[in-house]
Symmetry: C4
Subunit: 265 residues, 4 copies
C-alpha cells in the first residue's frame, strides 16, 4: 500500500492540480492562436507534439487518479470523474486520418472543460446552477405554452410575409425567441402590421406577457433562495423555543418544590 499512499498524495497535491490547470490553459491558448495566423509546416509539427504530450499527460493523470482509489471501479462513482474520463477518451479515438479528422480536431477544444474539475470553486457553481434547474422547470413549461400559442397564431397570421419569419412552426418559434430578446422586434412588427394593421396587439401582448413571466421567474428564484435562508433561521428559532420550554419545565419543578416546602412548614 506504500505505493498507493504516494499516489493519493500526488492526487491531492496542490502542485498537481496547478500543473494540470497550467497545461490546459497553455494548450487551449495555442489552439486559439492557431486560428489567428498562417499555419506553416513547423507549426503543424509543434502542434502535433503538443497534442501527443497533452494526450499522454491526461492519460497519466487519469491513471494516477484511478490507481489511487481503493478499487478502480470506485473511480466511476463520482460524476466529475466520469466527466473527465469521457473527455480524455474521446480525444483518443484515432480519427486523424479518416474523413472525420476535422471533427476529431474540434473535439479537442472540450479539453478546456477539464478546467472545471481542476478548480473546486467552479465545480460548486456548476452544482449550484444544476440545483436551480428544478425550481424553474414549471416556468419553462409555461414559457413553452406561451411560445406555442403565439407561434401557431403567428404562423396563421403572417405565414405569407416576404421575410419568411413565420414560414412554419419552428421558424416562428425562433422569431418569437428573437422578439423575447427585443432584437429588432419592431421590424418584425411593422412587417406584420402591413398585412394586419391591428397586429401590433399580437406583438405588444407577447412582449408584455413574456417579459412579465420572466420577471416573475426572476423574483421566484430570489424568493426561493431567501426562503432557504429563512429555514436556517427557523432552526435558530427552534433552538430558542427549546430553551424556553426547558426554562418553563424547570419553573414548574421549582413551584412544586416550593409547594412541598409550604406543606412541610
Amino acid at each position: 500500500m506504500e505505493f498507493k499512499a504516494k499516489l493519493i498524495n500526488i492526487r491531492e497535491a496542490r502542485w498537481f492540480s496547478n500543473l494540470t490547470t497550467t497545461i490546459i490553459i497553455i494548450y487551449s491558448s495555442i489552439l486559439g492562436l492557431k486560428t489567428m495566423m498562417e499555419v506553416d509546416g513547423n507549426l503543424i509539427i509543434i502542434m502535433h507534439i503538443m497534442d501527443y504530450f497533452v494526450t499522454i499527460y491526461f492519460l497519466i493523470e487519469i491513471a494516477i487518479k484511478m490507481a489511487a482509489e481503493e478499487k478502480t471501479s470506485d473511480f466511476f462513482k463520482s460524476g466529475w470523474n466520469i466527466f473527465d474520463f469521457v473527455i480524455v477518451i474521446i480525444t483518443l479515438i484515432p480519427l486523424e486520418n479518416t474523413t472525420m479528422a476535422a471533427v476529431a480536431r474540434l473535439l479537442r477544444i472540450f479539453r478546456v472543460l477539464r478546467l472545471i474539475t481542476a478548480r473546486p470553486g467552479l465545480k460548486r457553481i456548476i452544482d449550484m446552477l444544476m440545483g436551480a434547474i428544478p425550481s424553474i422547470v414549471d416556468i419553462v413549461i409555461l414559457m413553452f405554452i406561451i411560445f406555442y400559442i403565439y407561434a401557431i397564431l403567428g404562423n396563421f397570421l403572417f405565414a405569407g410575409v416576404e421575410s419568411g419569419l413565420w414560414e412554419n412552426f419552428l421558424i416562428a418559434m425562433l422569431t418569437l425567441f428573437r422578439i423575447l430578446t427585443f432584437e429588432d422586434w419592431t421590424d418584425v412588427m411593422y412587417e406584420g402590421m402591413e398585412v394586419h394593421p391591428w397586429s401590433w396587439i399580437y406583438f405588444v401582448s407577447f412582449v408584455i406577457i413574456a417579459a412579465f413571466v420572466f420577471f416573475n421567474l426572476f423574483i421566484a428564484v430570489i424568493i426561493g433562495e431567501m426562503e432557504k435562508l429563512r429555514d436556517e433561521d427557523d432552526t435558530e428559532h427552534e433552538e430558542e423555543m427549546e430553551k424556553l420550554d426547558t426554562i418553563l419545565a424547570k419553573m414548574d419543578e421549582l413551584k412544586e418544590e416550593i409547594a412541598e416546602l409550604k406543606s412541610k412548614s
Copy 2:
C-alpha cells in the same frame, strides 16, 4: 354511490392526468408539425381522426369530472374547471364548413392551455402571477401617465417626420413602448433631432424616467415579497414573546408563594 366513488378515483388518479397530458402534447405537436410540411389527402384524414378523438376524449374527461362532483353545479365553482369547460366547448362549435372554418381550426391551439390544469405546479405559478398584479397596478398607472404625457408631447413635436412614428396618439404610444425596449430608439431620436436639434432631451429623459420607474417597480415587488416572509418571521417572534410572558407570569406566582412562605415561617 358506488359508481361515483369510482369516478372520483379515476379523477384523482395519476395515470388519468398523465394520459391527458400526453394526449395534449401529441395533439399539439402534430398541429405544430402540420405547418412544416406539405399537407396531402392522407394527412388531412389523419388530422380529422385525431381531431375527433381528442374532442371525444376531452368530452369524456370533463363528463367524468362533472359526474364525480356531489352536485353537477359544484363543478362550476372552481375557476379552473370553468376554464377547462370553455376550452372544450369552444372547439365543439360546428364552424368547420362555414366561412369561419379557419378561425375554428385556430381555436384548437388553445387546447394546449389545458396543460396548465393538468399540472398542479403550473396552476400554482399562474395563481402567483395573478397575485402579483395588485401590487403593480399603481406603477402601471404611473407608467401610463408618463406614456400619456410623452405621447402627446411627441405627437406635438414630431408629427411631421417622414417615418410617421408620431402620426397620432396611438402610434406615438407604440413608438414609446418601442423606445422602452431600447429597440432602435436612437434611429427615432436622430430623426427627431433633425426637426428639433434639442429633442435628445425628450428621448434621453424618457429613457431615464421610464427605466427608473421600472427599476423601482422591480425593487418594490422584491421588497413586498420579503415583507411577506418577514411577517411570517413575526409570528415566530410572537410565539417567543408569548412564552416569555408565560415565564414572567410564573415568576410572579413563584414570588408570591415564597412571600407566603416567608410570612408563615
Copy 3:
C-alpha cells in the same frame, strides 16, 4: 364654522376624488383622441366647452380645498397642494390668442398629472421614488466620471469619423448613453475600429465597466431596502432582550428572598 366643516367633508369624500379622477381621464382621453381624427368646426367648439368646464371645475375644487383649511396659507404647506395649484394656474394664463397659443394648448396635457394627487397609492409611489434618489446620487456621480473620461477620450480618438458620433463632448456623451443601452453599439464600434483597429478595447471596456457599475447600483438599492427591514427586526430583538432582562432581574429578587428565608429558618 358650520360651512367649513361641510367643505372638509366634501374634500375628504370618496365621491369627490372619484369625480376628479373621472373628469381628468375623460378630458385626457379626448385630448389624445383629438390627434387621431380630422378636427372640424364642431369638435373645436366641443373642445372649447370641455376646456372651460375643466378649468372651472379645477378652480372650484382648489377653492374648496383652500377654504377647508384653518388658514388659507396652510394650504401651501403641503408640496402636493402646491403641485396642484401650479398645474391649475398655468392653464389659466391667457395665451390662447397670442403667438404662444400652441404652447398653451400643450401645457394642458400636464393636467393628467393631477391623477397622482387624486390617488393616494400613486402619491406613495412618487414619495418612494424620491426617497430612493439620495441612495443613488453617488453612483450617478461615479457614472458621470466614467462618461466624462470616455467622452473626452472618444472625442480624441474618433472625432473624425464620418457618422459624426464623436464630433464634440456633448454628442460623445449622447453616443455613450446609446452604447449603455446596447443600442446598435457594435455599429459605433466597427466604425471606430476602422480608424483605430484596437479601439474595441475602448468599447468593450466601457460596456463592461458601465454595466458592472449599474449592476452594483441595483444590488446596493436592494440591500439598502433589506437593511431597513432588518432594522425593524432589530426592534423585535430589543423587545425580547428587554423581557429577558426583566426575567433575570426577577430571578435575582427571588434568589434574595430565598436567601432571606434561609437565614430566617
Copy 4:
C-alpha cells in the same frame, strides 16, 4: 509642531475638499467645452493659464497632505494617496513640445478621477465594487470557458462567412460578446444559417446558456449579500441564547437553594 497642526486642520477642513472639488469640476467642464467650439488664440492662452494654475494647486494640495503626515513616507501607506500622487505626477511630465503632446493633453482628463478622493461617498462605492470582485471571479472564469468553446466552434463553423465576424479566435470572441448584449445577434445568426441551416442551435444555445449563467451570477451576489446580513442577525441570536443560558444557570442555583431549604426545615 504648531505648523503641522495647522496643516492637519487645513487637510481635514470641509472648505478645502470643497475647493478642490470645485476646481476639478470647473477645469473638467472647460476641457469638455473646448471640444465644442473653435479654438482661437485667446482661448489657448486662457487654457494654458488654467492648466498652470490647476497643476500648481494640485502640487500645493498634495504638499500640504504630505507635510501634514507624521512622516512623509506615511503618506504613501494609503492606496488613495498613491492614486492622487500618480495623477498629479503624470501631468507634470514635460511632454508639451515633444511628439507626445497630444497624449500629454489627453492624460489631463484623468484629473477628473480626483473627484473620487475628494468625496468619501464615492471612495466607499469604489471599495464596495472592488469587494464584489472576488465573489464573481469564478463565474467570470466559467463565462470565459463558455466563450472559449463557442469561439473555437464558431470559428470552425463560420470562418468563411462574408462579414468576417468569425475570421479568427479573437474576432469570434468579440462577436460572442456582441451576441451576449443581444446587439443585432439575429443578423449574425441568419448569416450563419445560410452556411449551416441548423446553426440556430449554436446561437440559441449560446444565448440561453450565457443568459442563464449571468442570471445566476446576479442571484449569487444578492444571496451573498443577504447572507452577510443574516450573519449579523446571528450575533443577535447568540446574544439571546447567552441570556437564556444565564437564566437556566440561575434557575439551577435557585433549585439548589430551595433543596437546601427543604433539607433544613
